[in-house]
């Protein structure tokens, strides 16, 4: 990247007091240091200096740091100026840089350069982008975990284990004369099982990271008049949804984005489910099902005064097995007996009133816990949907590999599934060639004549 132009950007969010950091990356970083700081600081050492513009006027004073290529964040020469901040001062610094031909960076351009110079892998580069626009404190932490390569690290460990396994399988195929028929021994099955477990753990963490960042889809469903639209309004603090006492009021899907302590949630109100001859209502019910299939969590709203209806039971029987459900007994303000205790188990049951707002705080708390929202954000990764998808595909191929191994003992098909699993993971961490694999085989087994 030696012919690339030099870019600069304010690295602190606008309006925050205290310090203001300007970061410069590219071949002109040295010139910038000479012009503005008056001297090129020794590598990776902070020096305190006054900052001047071209005419020699003092702009600010502060700390200058210099990271020569390639040992910098972007891999290029990087200069960091930490001054007192304030929009005016920062503007003047940027203007002074502009005078020597340094242009403002496009959003994400620093990470892009870091990625192009192999300073970040794809997962890390995406984590930087996440960090920049992360909505909540916890999501920012999760993004930081990925940035530090926590996610990459886990995936890389899995890929390593997978390569090891493939090495045995491929050796058995390509060297049948060599007393390395690993397909016949149980070690393969054990290794396969270990990788599956690692993958499932990573998937669980990664999935949560995605929910934290993108926000989970929370679908409200139930019989007509149960109070679904009222609940949406109560959670969103608006009257976005029409509420009447006519059953079948809601005909179409309605979404509201809310935040609970910074945790983004997409609340989705749906048409009440019942047998209906009305075409519009039928279409609404069809759309309800579509939302249910895509949900990350389902809130099933019922009237607290009544026992569970068959329609509710049928609904529960039809939803995807993976989908977690919370049963909401609504309208407790009308309840003439004592309010039962909430149940906080696999299938949670809560007692609320959408109209009065009673016990909605418990619902909010419950939702935060349900996504594993911890203010510290530890142990979760910010995985993009793309990563999740890759992990899911890898999981499926590992399952198929197991089946091939157990049922048909077909070595080449086990090998094929493992190859596909690794390909899927390679979308996260980068490629691995068959020659690399052979290299591992030759250095591990005594093979050949």
């Amino acid at each position: 990247m030696n012919d690339a132009d030099t870019i600069a950007a304010v690295a602190t969010p606008p309006g925050r007091g205290g310090v203001g950091i300007v970061r410069i990356s590219g071949p002109k970083a040295v010139e910038a240091a000479r012009r503005i700081v008056g001297v090129v600081p020794p590598a990776r050492t902070a020096i305190y200096r006054r900052f001047h513009d071209r005419a020699g006027h003092e702009i600010d004073d502060g700390i200058a740091l210099y990271f020569p290529s390639p040992n910098s964040f972007t891999g290029e020469d990087v200069l960091e100026l930490q001054g007192h901040g304030g929009p005016v001062v920062l503007d003047m610094l940027m203007a002074a840089l502009g005078e020597i031909g340094i242009r403002p960076a496009r959003p994400g351009e620093f990470s892009e350069r870091a990625f192009l110079n192999d300073k970040l892998d794809l997962a890390q580069a995406e984590a930087v982008a996440d960090l920049i626009d992360s909505a909540s404190e916890a999501a920012a932490r999760a993004a930081l975990n990925s940035l530090h390569g926590e996610f990459s690290h886990r995936v890389t460990a899995m890929v390593d284990a997978l390569i090891e396994l493939r090495m045995y399988v491929e050796a058995a195929i390509d060297f049948p004369e060599e007393e390395v028929d690993f397909l016949a021994d149980s070690g393969i099955a054990t290794r396969l099982h270990d990788i599956e477990q690692k993958l499932q753990q990573t998937l669980a963490s990664a999935r949560q990271g995605t929910l934290l960042r993108d926000g989970m889809n929370l679908v409200i469903a139930g019989r007509p008049n149960a109070g679904k639209s009222s609940l949406l309004n109560a959670l969103a603090g608006t009257d976005a949804a029409i509420v009447t006492d006519v059953p079948g009021t809601t005909r179409d899907v309605l979404r509201e984005r809310i935040e609970i302590d910074g945790l983004p949630i997409h609340v989705i109100d749906t048409a009440g489910i019942r047998d209906s001859d009305d075409v519009v209502e039928q279409e609404g019910i069809r759309r309800t099902w579509r939302e249910v299939e895509r949900a990350d969590r389902l809130l099933l709203v019922m009237d607290a005064r009544e026992p569970m209806h068959v329609e509710d039971q049928q609904l529960l029987a039809r939803i995807p097995p993976r989908l977690p459900v919370t049963l909401l007994h609504n309208k407790i303000d009308l309840l003439e007996r004592d309010i039962p205790d909430d149940v906080d188990a696999e299938r949670a049951e809560l007692w609320i009133s959408a109209r009065t707002g009673a016990r909605l705080d418990r619902l909010r708390e419950h939702l935060k816990n349900a996504v594993g929202y911890q203010p510290t954000g530890q142990g979760t990764f910010s995985a993009r949907r793309r990563h999740l998808d890759a992990l899911f595909r890898a999981e499926r191929h590992l399952l198929d590999a197991r089946e091939r191994l157990e049922k048909s003992r077909a070595g080449e098909l086990v090998a094929e599934e493992l190859r596909l699993a690794q390909n899927a993971l390679a979308e996260i961490t980068g490629a691995f060639s068959s020659d690399d694999l052979l290299g591992r085989i030759f250095s591990s087994f005594c093979i050949g004549k």
């Binding site: 192999d118 070595g411 068959s434 020659d435 050949g448």
Partner: protein, 632 residues
């Protein structure tokens, strides 16, 4: 000074050279095969065996394109096996132990009887280069031959140096002189040259061996056949191989001789193959293994020499004697020829086009060991490709070369061109990502129609091929038209065949997909037969059914990648114009000159980020010219 004009001249009569000459001549262009010694046409420098995993696949591909190797192996094979027969069809491979003399005789007969092909015994010393193009060859005695294209296949002979212990001398292989004049001349041209090494074990007189102390290894019954046109009746009488092992004493002798090993004392600089290590390499690298297998293979029916496969060595002769005699069954063995290592020049294959023509010297094609490969099969396959493209160049036709998804030959050429090699390159099935598609059993279906178009397939083979192909289609159609109803079979029989009762009626084709159902038992059911007689046809139908899901997926994968893979990079593309490419990546690409983005992505050191930059750049450029859209 002669000034004979040919379309194609092939230099070297080894495995690459003979296939190259035959392919060119079959395509109808006038061809000259120039070789040091007519007696050594088709000589096997090392192990007298053809095929094996990955290699057998190449042999079948050569055969499917009308080449010689499979046919010669059928005429010379004295011990045939199908390796991996208990694993799936994609990784099964044929291997034949060959009688050296019979093999040479078969090759020589084919060469001598091939129309359009002449042989001349002379070493080539120089190339005629005019206006940057290679237009002919000058021989040792100064004869000049001119041609539209020249194929170079001189094996291990360029600057060849043979090592036994700390002694070494010049040689092309034991008993043959090296090619020094040509080596020196080629080093003057703009070609990147490096050194590799390989080795061979001592040979042993079978009369001095006690076979009763070894394990017998018979060939397969029924005896496999290599060529599509072949027949087991062509095989000579079959013999046995044997297996013995090294032991601690063997290893002690080797360790004691290490101070006189040319490898370990640094006399040899060339890099040897990791997967074909000398016995001294095995002892050093796998010190904890106390015994290694040795396959004891006959050199021929009329020969008393044995090839002890597994103890290739360049240790001094006295150490070789101790090593051999420490082995069970070899206690009194007499060595007829010492083992040795050989170092030779090879050319960086990254300088080649997919046609195997040099990027720098138009008119000059490279094939075989000089491209950094090892093995007869690898050499022969490249030879055939170079021969085809030399003939096409002579006829002003565009070059042809198979992709990775079409043939092992495609994998071979693509690997060499994009990765280069720093050790002798050998084929393995794990190199082929489309392994389930590239099988021995369908080599003809993959390649014979293309070869026919290229002019390599005679009418006899074509007619037989078409019959087979039609029979397969017909049988597949029949199996998908016929249904089996639950009522057709007793419930007990259903459970026995399908592991449970049939729930609904099913097409025979669907039933065949089940792992537990095979073609023979399916077509043996009442109303489901008769199946086809031809075993090859039945096998194809069955494999297609068993692999169906996987094959569809691999085809999808191929299609999905095709657009990106095939996005072509213009010949004169300037990598300096791609913003953001690191200098290192730019230099690598400038040097390798990949023809497609797919090839570029396989060049070592080219990061995924660089590939996206390249794609983005090409897309931006092509938006006007529409080149990418044109490719899709």
């Amino acid at each position: 000074m002669s000034n004979e004009q040919y379309d194609v001249i092939v230099i070297g009569g080894g495995h690459a050279g003979t296939e190259a000459a035959l392919a060119a001549a079959r395509m109808g262009v006038s061809t000259l095969l120039l070789t040091q010694n007519v007696e050594t046409l088709g000589q096997m420098s090392c192990n007298p065996a053809i095929g094996g995993i990955g290699k057998g696949h190449l042999v079948k591909e050569i055969d499917a394109m009308g080449g010689l190797m499979a046919h010669a192996a059928d005429l010379a094979g004295i011990h045939f096996r199908i390796l991996n027969s208990r694993k799936g069809p994609a990784v099964r491979a044929t291997r034949a132990q060959a009688d050296r003399q019979l093999y040479k005789r078969a090759v020589r007969a084919a060469i001598e009887n091939q129309p359009n092909l002449r042989v001349f015994q002379q070493a080539a010393d120089d190339l005629i280069v005019e206006q940057g193009q290679v237009v002919g060859v000058v021989t040792q005695m100064g004869l000049a031959f001119r041609a539209r294209a020249v194929v170079l296949t001189v094996g291990t002979f360029l600057g060849g140096r043979i090592h036994i212990g700390l002694n070494n001398y010049q040689g092309g292989r034991a008993g043959d002189p090296p090619s020094n004049a040509l080596a020196a001349r080629l080093r003057e041209l703009a070609l990147k040259v490096d050194r590799l090494k390989t080795g061979t074990p001592p040979r042993i007189d079978k009369r001095s061996v006690d076979f009763s102390r070894m394990q017998e290894q018979p060939g397969d019954e029924p005896v496999p056949v290599f060529s599509f046109m072949g027949d087991a009746a062509e095989h000579p009488p079959q013999t046995l191989c044997h297996i013995t092992r090294t032991n601690e004493r063997t290893h002690d002798h080797i360790r004691a001789g290490m101070d006189r090993s040319p490898m370990y004392t640094g006399v040899i600089e060339g890099v040897g193959p990791r997967y074909c290590p000398s016995i001294e390499d095995k002892i050093v690298r796998f010190a904890d293994k106390d015994s290694h297998q040795i396959f004891v293979e006959p050199e021929g029916l009329d020969s008393n020499e044995l090839y002890p496969n597994g103890i290739s060595t360049s240790l001094p002769y006295d150490v070789q004697v101790n090593v051999v005699r420490s082995i069970e069954g070899f206690e009194n063995a007499h060595i007829t020829r010492p083992g040795y290592a050989i170092e030779y020049d090879f050319f960086d294959p990254r300088d080649l086009k997919p046609s195997l023509e040099s990027q720098h010297l138009p008119g000059l094609f490279f094939a075989g060991q000089i491209n950094g490969t090892t093995g007869y099969e690898e050499a022969a396959a490249q030879g055939m490709l170079a021969g085809i493209n030399a003939a096409r160049r002579a006829g002003d036709q565009e070059s042809w070369s198979p992709g990775r998804e079409l043939a092992y030959l495609g994998v071979l050429v693509d690997d060499l061109r994009t990765q280069g090699t720093n050790e002798p390159y050998r084929m393995f099935t794990s190199r082929a990502e489309h392994r389930l598609l590239l099988r021995e059993d369908n080599a003809d279906l993959r390649l014979t129609p293309i070869a026919r178009e290229l002019g390599l397939i005679d009418d006899l083979r074509w007619a037989r091929f078409e019959r087979k192909r039609e029979a397969i289609e017909r049988e597949k159609q029949r199996l998908s038209d016929h249904w089996l109803r639950p009522g057709d079979l007793s419930e007990a029989r259903q459970t026995q065949l399908f592991g449970g009762p049939l729930i609904r009626e099913q097409r025979l084709a669907e039933l065949l997909r089940r792992p537990e159902v095979d073609y023979a038992s399916l077509t043996g059911l009442p109303g489901c037969g008769p199946g086809v007689e031809d075993a090859q046809v039945a096998q194809q139908v069955e494999i297609d059914a068993k692999y169906a899901g996987y094959i569809d997926r691999q085809r999808d994968e191929i299609d999905r990648h095709r657009r990106q893979q095939e996005a072509s990079i213009p010949d004169d593309f300037d990598y300096a114009t791609v913003r953001g490419l690191s200098t290192e990546v730019r230099e690598k690409l400038q040097r390798t000159r990949p023809a497609t983005v797919g090839q570029a992505s396989r060049v070592p050191g080219v990061t995924p980020a660089a590939v996206s930059l390249l794609l983005v750049h090409l897309k931006r450029q092509g938006a006007g010219a529409g080149s990418l859209r044109h490719q899709a």
